[in-house]
């Protein structure tokens, strides 16, 4: 059993299947109306997103049962560690392969109007067969907006920079390689520009200075 930031995850058996009970438990620090609303909508959203992702061939856990009022989802159990916990223990070359795969799968999601919403390495599981499963679509949504796709990728980039700073740049390059293999060069440019634009919005002024000086940075990724 694992109590995460958002929900409690309990392994178990349900109708002969190995499952995860994902329970968005009430947060005592929040107003109860707000709390119930957040838990209900996030639970049903996640179920819809998971189903659509799976339908399009992206490795995600299957949804077996749902009770939004209770904040409960019963999901297929996917065996494998969180990428976050093993990145520092795998060879860089293997990491790069993994991130190419991740790029491809995010490409498929975006192609099909799905935004994950929380692409951190804590939400990616590596299975024995070397597949990378995406979990936790609780902050995801259905959208074709380039802005939202850009934010999706920007958040992942930021997550890489803050938790795996030394390899962030190379991992991101591998990710973009995978992403563009699915969406094409045109979309790759569009998305990279969008990510750059988002980064420039007030919070990354040092990079604006850097790009004027034409020194190295994520601006120069091809």
């Amino acid at each position: 059993m694992n109590i995460g930031a958002e929900a409690a995850l309990i392994r178990g058996k349900w109708l002969e299947e190995e499952v995860i009970f994902k329970l968005r438990y009430p947060k005592l620090y929040r107003n109860t109306i707000l709390d119930l609303h957040l838990r209900k909508t996030r639970t049903s959203h996640e179920a819809k997103l998971l189903s659509e992702a799976k339908f399009n061939g992206v490795p995600v856990p299957s949804v077996l049962f749902i009770n939004p009022e209770a904040g409960l989802l019963i999901l297929e159990y996917v065996k494998g560690p969180k990428l976050r916990d093993i990145i520092d223990h795998i060879k860089l070359s293997e990491c790069l392969e993994i991130f190419i795969k991740i790029g491809k799968n995010v490409g498929i999601l975006h192609l099909n109007g799905i935004i994950h919403g929380d692409l951190t390495t804590s939400n990616m599981l590596l299975t024995e067969k070397n597949e990378v499963f995406f979990i936790d679509f609780g902050l995801g949504e259905f959208s074709n907006e380039v802005e939202k796709q850009g934010v999706d990728i920007h958040l992942m980039l930021r997550a890489l920079e803050s938790t795996h700073p030394s390899h962030a740049r190379r991992l991101f390059e591998a990710f973009i390689k995978g992403y563009s293999s699915v969406r094409g060069e045109e979309w790759k440019e569009k998305i990279l520009n969008k990510v750059r634009e988002i980064r420039m919005r007030g919070r990354y002024i040092s990079e604006r200075r850097e790009s004027h000086k034409q020194s190295k940075g994520f601006n120069n990724l091809s």
Binding site: A5, N31, L34, S122, L139, V151, S162, P165
Partner: protein
């Protein structure tokens, strides 16, 4: 056989004694001078806060205020610490982030003192100082730091040699959101405590835009919505305040919760002006309990901008060889804390 203590005369030993540093803060509305030691003794903390006219912040007027009070604040700090400028080891200056006109006042004073008394100049990042004073007063060694103020809202953690931003506001800071709402509602200044005061009398929760994007927050939609409700007049001010506070604080706590979980920290500290909020402190405490982590807010005296935190951080830095020349001491209004090396934590 006598025990003989051998005293090494190497330069390294020089740095092992207590370093006393005078620090100057003038990044925004506060002009402060603090005196502190590298061991964490705060010998003086004198601050003068510019109270703006009700229509918002005016950097030039703030700068004028700072230049008027500078000498008095400096004198008072030296008197309180019972120390002379000749006896400090260095002058620390908050070179950023902050507002240009304000930063210049403190920087000019620091350079002057450095030249006149032949003391080394030590650069300090204002956000890093908020983190360090939080670590000092909470006693936490490696906490997740929630830094919430009028000008900043970010979740910070120490990763690989520097302080990194785990999550932050994508538009306006939380303090600013509440301050602007207070202004629109005619509640006067400072805004955040007034909004909280009224919120305590609220009963009805009104659903408002709750925007958490992964690890980041967005308060501008919430602010716009709250102001609209205010102008429409269909809800009590108490209920709007209550809902605004509930929503914005819950958003912040949620991101902090993610940080705690994702980064596996066992301690969480709250710093910045909004750290004085009992409501926020209460929520963070409850959240920390859920995850078996310890929570402490920074000592209220050091929550808002203050000179002592600049002095203390400067002392830490100086004890680890950080110093700059006058020429290098340019102000950096947009200085990000992840651009700063933290040698005292290696």
């Amino acid at each position: 056989m006598e025990d003989v203590t051998i005293r090494s005369l190497s330069p390294k030993n020089e740095m092992n004694r207590e370093i006393i540093v005078l620090g100057i803060e003038s990044t925004a509305h506060t002009f402060g001078v603090g005196i502190a030691s590298s061991q964490g003794k705060i010998l003086a903390n004198v601050n003068s806060i510019y109270v703006p006219r009700s229509d918002g912040l005016h950097p030039r007027e703030m700068a004028e205020h700072h230049s008027k009070v500078a000498v008095r604040v400096l004198k008072e700090a030296l008197e309180t610490a019972e120390i002379k400028l000749e006896d400090v080891d260095g002058i620390a200056i908050a070179l950023g982030p902050g507002m240009g006109p304000c930063l210049r006042i403190g920087a000019t004073l620091a350079r002057f003192l450095s030249l006149k008394f032949s003391k080394p100049l030590i650069p300090v990042n204002h956000a890093v100082a908020h983190v360090e004073i939080a670590r000092l007063t909470t006693g936490f060694n490696d906490p997740l730091v929630v830094y919430v103020a009028g000008g900043n809202t970010m979740i910070i953690a120490y990763v690989e040699g520097r302080y990194r931003v785990f999550g932050e506001t994508l538009d306006i800071p939380l303090g600013n959101c509440l301050d602007v709402f207070a202004r629109e509602a005619g509640l006067g200044l400072p805004g955040t405590p007034k909004v909280e005061e009224i919120a305590l009398r609220g009963e009805k929760y009104i659903r408002m835009p709750y925007v958490v994007k992964g690890q980041d927050l967005s308060f501008s939609g919430l602010l716009t919505y709250a102001i609209r409700l205010l102008k429409e007049g269909s809800y009590r001010l108490e209920d709007i305040c209550y809902s605004l506070v509930e929503t914005s604080y819950s958003m912040l706590v949620e991101v902090a919760e993610r940080g705690l979980s994702h980064l596996n920290k066992r301690e969480i500290a709250l710093t910045g002006g909004v750290a004085r909020s009992k409501i926020l402190t209460d929520k963070l405490e409850k959240m920390a309990l859920l995850h078996g982590a310890l929570f402490k807010p920074v000592n209220p005296e050091y929550a808002g901008d203050n000179g002592a935190m600049i002095a203390y951080t400067g002392a830490l830095a100086f004890a680890h060889g950080v110093r700059i020349t006058i020429e290098e001491s340019v102000i950096k209004p947009l200085w990000r804390l992840d651009e700063v090396d933290i040698p005292w934590r290696k």
